[in-house]
């Protein structure tokens, strides 16, 4: 492969990377490479053997590996070049990529444009700082998923899960099917952290106890975990004295959230949003560094893979156009500002000149609300939750209502009927 002539280099080959690469190729970029540290493309999809993938994108209910397969085949069809077993270690602001590979050794090259598609990682125990000992048998739900579904091992047979993220709930079901007993799913908030469909299909259908407004206050066991203390929490999420009880277990899984993986982005000088943890992007998924684009969970953590694919296609198309000479402002003229009960909005800036899809999350659960996009659009919603991403299409017809020279749009989630 001639690395001196790469148009678009995509970092990561999960659903985001594959979608970006395919679209870049389809948009006219000639030489598109995908850099992936694993032996095959697909990223975490391979360990997600459950269904629920592609309901929106393909109108079909697929498993993770099936969803991956479709994109892998498409990527080969359109002649994307995968660079497998290749770990990118550095990206410079001038877009020079450094990587190591067991086959090719040490690689550096400078493509015309880059798509960041490194996805996200799980929050670990340290971030939680649970008091107690440091025994074996504490792992993130995603690591457990890899052990069970890829490596063929079961971490233990009496399991407590902290956090009710989607991977945690899916692993609760998976481990139950494997013959383990999930004794509790412990969630500090009054509502689950993942999707309702997972609460129903993974917890309720298997009678797995869900303890809302509870947290783990202590870990016991010297060599291997033996038990945890669980307590109710008050409105400030502090444990309530006297509610503590001990639950015996041999394994603790953590499903306490995902964080976009942006070490490489930072090296490249990409500006990050402290709320999403991902790059600040414009509507073309351009970052502040010319020629560097980003899509999928590296930008913000999505609930559904379908949206990851769509968002990354946009990044792939932009990267191809950039490689062919198109230019944009790094920041759109109009900033989208989170207002009442809005945690974040992606993209963070827009030009106002093309129709766009907004992805946003609220800060708190609320019923009977109205979402107001400045004064150009409003939408009534029955209920909003931090765990369910909102997706709002903003057509040109609405954008034209913007005042000349407007520099920001405030998005509010207002209480209805008052």
């Amino acid at each position: 492969m001639n690395r001196q002539n790469v148009d678009v280099a995509v970092i990561g080959s999960g659903p985001a990377g594959m979608a970006a690469a395919i679209r870049a190729k389809q948009s006219g970029a000639e030489n598109v490479v995908v850099m992936e540290r694993a032996e095959q493309m697909g990223g975490l999809l391979h360990q997600c053997v459950h269904n629920g993938f592609g309901l929106l994108y393909f109108n079909e209910d697929l498993t993770g590996p099936e969803y991956a397969r479709r994109f892998m085949e498409k990527a080969m069809d359109v002649k994307v070049t995968p660079l497998l077993e290749t770990m990118v270690t550095k990206i410079s602001p001038e877009r020079e990529i450094t990587a190591i590979s067991s086959k090719e050794g040490y690689i550096t090259f400078t493509p015309k444009s880059i798509v960041l598609a490194m996805g996200c990682r799980e929050r670990s125990r340290g971030a939680l700082n649970i008091p107690g000992t440091r025994p074996a048998g504490i792992l993130t739900a995603g690591t457990a998923q890899r052990f069970v579904n890829v490596e063929g091992f079961i971490p233990g047979k009496k399991i407590v899960i902290l956090g009710s993220g989607d991977i945690g709930m899916i692993m609760a079901r998976r481990l139950t099917l494997e013959g383990a007993e999930v004794v509790a799913v412990v969630e500090i908030l009054p509502y689950i952290g993942g999707l309702i469909r997972n609460e129903v299909q993974c917890l309720h259908d298997f009678s797995i106890p869900l303890l809302l407004e509870h947290t783990i206050t202590q870990i016991h066991g010297e060599k291997r975990i033996e038990a945890v203390n669980v307590a109710r929490v008050d409105n400030n999420r502090d444990p309530i004295g006297g509610t503590e009880r001990r639950i015996e277990c041999d394994t603790l899984l953590l499903s306490v959230g995902l964080i976009p993986e942006n070490e490489l982005s930072s090296m490249a000088g990409v500006e990050l949003d402290p709320i999403t943890g991902g790059p600040i992007v414009g509507e073309m998924r351009q970052t502040n560094v010319p020629g560097i684009f980003a899509g999928g969970n590296v930008v913000h953590v999505h609930d559904l893979v379908d949206n990851v694919s769509w968002e990354s296609e946009l990044a792939g198309e932009s990267a191809a156009r950039f490689a062919m000479g198109a230019k944009w402002a790094e920041k759109g003229k109009i900033a989208l500002k989170p207002g009442r009960n809005i945690r974040y909005i992606v993209p963070q800036t827009i030009s106002g000149e093309r129709e766009i899809t907004l992805y946003l999350r609220v800060s708190d659960l609320e019923e009977g609300v109205r979402l107001k996009i400045g004064d150009i659009m409003s939408k009534a919603l029955r209920v909003v939750k931090p765990s369910e991403m909102l997706k709002i299409e903003l057509p040109m017809a609405q954008l034209r209502k913007l005042k000349q020279g407007a520099t920001e749009i405030v998005v509010d989630c207002e209480k209805r009927g008052k």
């Binding site: 540290r37 077993e85 770990m87 270690t89 450094t98 190591i100 590979s101 067991s102 086959k103 090719e104 050794g105 040490y106 550096t108 990682r121 799980e122 670990s124 125990r125 340290g126 971030a127 700082n129 008091p131 107690g132 000992t133 440091r134 025994p135 074996a136 048998g137 792992l139 993130t140 995603g142 690591t143 890899r146 052990f147 069970v148 890829v150 490596e151 063929g152 091992f153 079961i154 971490p155 233990g156 047979k157 494997e178 013959g179 383990a180 206050t217 202590q218 870990i219 016991h220 010297e222 060599k223 291997r224 041999d250 394994t251």
Partner: protein, 490 residues
């Protein structure tokens, strides 16, 4: 091992036991070291602030105290030792900040005393200089006492390197071997261990937190120690640049200490509320974590709870808790000949080089005959640190062995080649690999690398994956094979 005979038996593979073993390996003498854990430095040495101090940092050090002398005598020895053993060592300097003139006056007194004892490196710096040196330190500080000599190292790696080098020079080293009982004969001890019995002429008891228990086995417990628990929190590398010196302030409450320091790997660590505690209870509490964080924030306000990627507790042995941390035990038993106990509550790492020499001297006073070992090799080669190589070196190494092109830990950028090297040097567990290579020490705390390291360990050691442990014994990481719980047989 069923029965073994040795001339000197060292009990304990912490920084002190291994330093003594390595020192003894300079001589032609038959030495055995036993450690109950499956690896070295997993006792007090593991939970550590990693500071190589000079006895002036806790300026209350006094020359008449044995321990202070060992720390001072170690000052010129530590850096060359780290160099010989290829262990990280970095002189970062210490800033002891104060917030008012009264605070400064106190340090003035301490500085004068340090100078009278021959420690002359301390100097006062004013507010502006402090701001320049450390812009993120609390604005409340009006100045600091600066000691440029203070350094940092990696105590566990130092311990593992000492053990490796001692073994290289002929010391018989047995891990997973716990001393259970000792009977003293006329000119020989008979030591019962979990792996069989050992006959030895001399015993060096360097059992750290259990120094008094081991002494009691031989009726040599003519001293008392108090187990004091301390807390250490490790911060993410992304805030690693907040300070470049060890920053320190006088504690406001007894048992607390305000300290934050960089590590040799670019993280910051904070510590440590100290409390008299039940031995062997390594658990941390919410209260410890809160005090630790609050104290660190008094030094560097920008630190937040979310920056903490791991935390743990460790034990120090104090001779006298009421009086503070004065004295240690580095002496022969008054009642049992040829039995030496060696324990330094704080700072055992800083005092290790001289303590090794001191123990050898005590052994000769007890009658051990020593003859120089002409083959003694003081050098140990480091395990490759792939991330530190130049681009050309990286390329060349992968071309030679493509396992260096396979990254297993992405947070710390550790390759399969390094993990294999670590196993070759004696790592048998996830933690053994972690302390030698840093795989699993980064912000994801092993989420990504543990499946990979487990399969490399299983392959290299020739054991099934379910037998791989986190830290030996019952700490298996994966309890069952797929379908095992269903009782399905294939």
């Amino acid at each position: 091992m069923s029965e073994l005979e040795t001339q000197v038996l060292i009990i304990g593979g912490g920084v002190l036991g291994t330093a003594i073993a390595r020192e003894l390996s300079r001589y032609k003498v038959d030495v055995t070291l036993v450690e109950k854990e499956v690896d070295f430095g997993w006792g007090s040495t593991k939970a550590n602030m990693c500071i190589v101090c000079q006895g002036g940092d806790a300026l209350e050090f006094r020359k008449e105290y044995h321990r202070s002398r060992l720390v001072w005598e170690s000052i010129p020895l530590t850096e060359p030792l780290c160099r010989q053993l290829a262990v990280p060592f970095k002189r970062i300097g210490e800033l002891t900040i104060f917030k008012d003139n009264e605070g400064m006056a106190k340090y003035q007194k301490l500085k004068t005393r340090a100078e009278s004892l021959g420690i002359t490196t301390h100097q006062f710096i004013d507010r502006d200089t402090l701001r320049q040196m450390e812009p993120n330190v609390t604005k409340e500080a009006i100045g600091a006492l600066y000691d440029p000599m203070i350094a940092i190292t990696d105590p566990v790696r130092l311990t593992m390197a000492l053990a490796e080098n001692a073994r290289q020079n002929g010391v018989n080293i047995l891990t997973g071997t716990e001393v259970l009982d000792i009977s003293s004969g006329v000119d020989e001890f008979e030591v019962q261990t979990s792996q069989g019995s050992i006959k030895s002429k001399f015993i060096v008891n360097a059992a750290g937190m259990f120094v008094d228990k081991v002494a009691a086995m031989a009726n040599a417990d003519d001293f008392v120690v108090f187990p004091i628990k301390g807390y250490v929190g490790i911060l993410d590398k992304k805030v690693g640049g907040l300070v470049e010196h060890e920053i320190h302030a006088r504690p406001e409450a007894p048992g607390e200490s305000n300290i934050i320091t960089p590590t040799v790997y670019g993280n910051l660590i904070i510590g440590t509320p100290m409390k008299l505690a039940r031995r062997n209870d390594y658990s941390t509490t919410r209260q410890m974590a809160e005090i630790g964080l609050r104290n660190a924030q008094k030094l560097v306000p920008d630190i937040s709870e979310g920056d903490i990627i791991n935390s743990f507790a460790g034990f120090l042995m104090f001779r006298n808790w009421e009086l503070g941390w004065h004295e240690c035990v580095v002496s022969p038993s008054r009642s049992v000949p040829r039995f030496i106990s060696v324990s330094i509550g704080y700072p055992g790492v800083s005092a290790a080089p001289a303590t090794g020499k001191k123990a050898v001297k005590l052994l000769t006073q007890e009658g051990l005959k020593l003859e120089e070992n002409p083959n003694f090799n003081p050098y140990r080669k480091a395990i490759t640190d792939f991330s530190k190589l130049s681009d050309e070196e990286k390329g060349a190494l992968i071309a030679e062995d493509n396992r260096y092109g396979h990254v297993v830990c992405r947070c710390e950028m550790v390759t399969e080649g390094e993990v294999v090297e670590a196993i070759g040097r004696g790592a048998t567990t996830l933690d053994g690999v972690k302390f030698r290579t840093r795989a699993g020490m980064g912000r994801c705390q092993g989420g990504f690398c543990s499946p990979r390291v487990i399969s490399i360990l299983a392959r290299q050691l020739g054991i099934p994956e379910e037998e791989v442990t986190k830290k030996g014994g019952e700490s298996r990481h994966l309890l069952y094979q797929s379908k095992q719980l269903l009782g399905v047989r294939e």
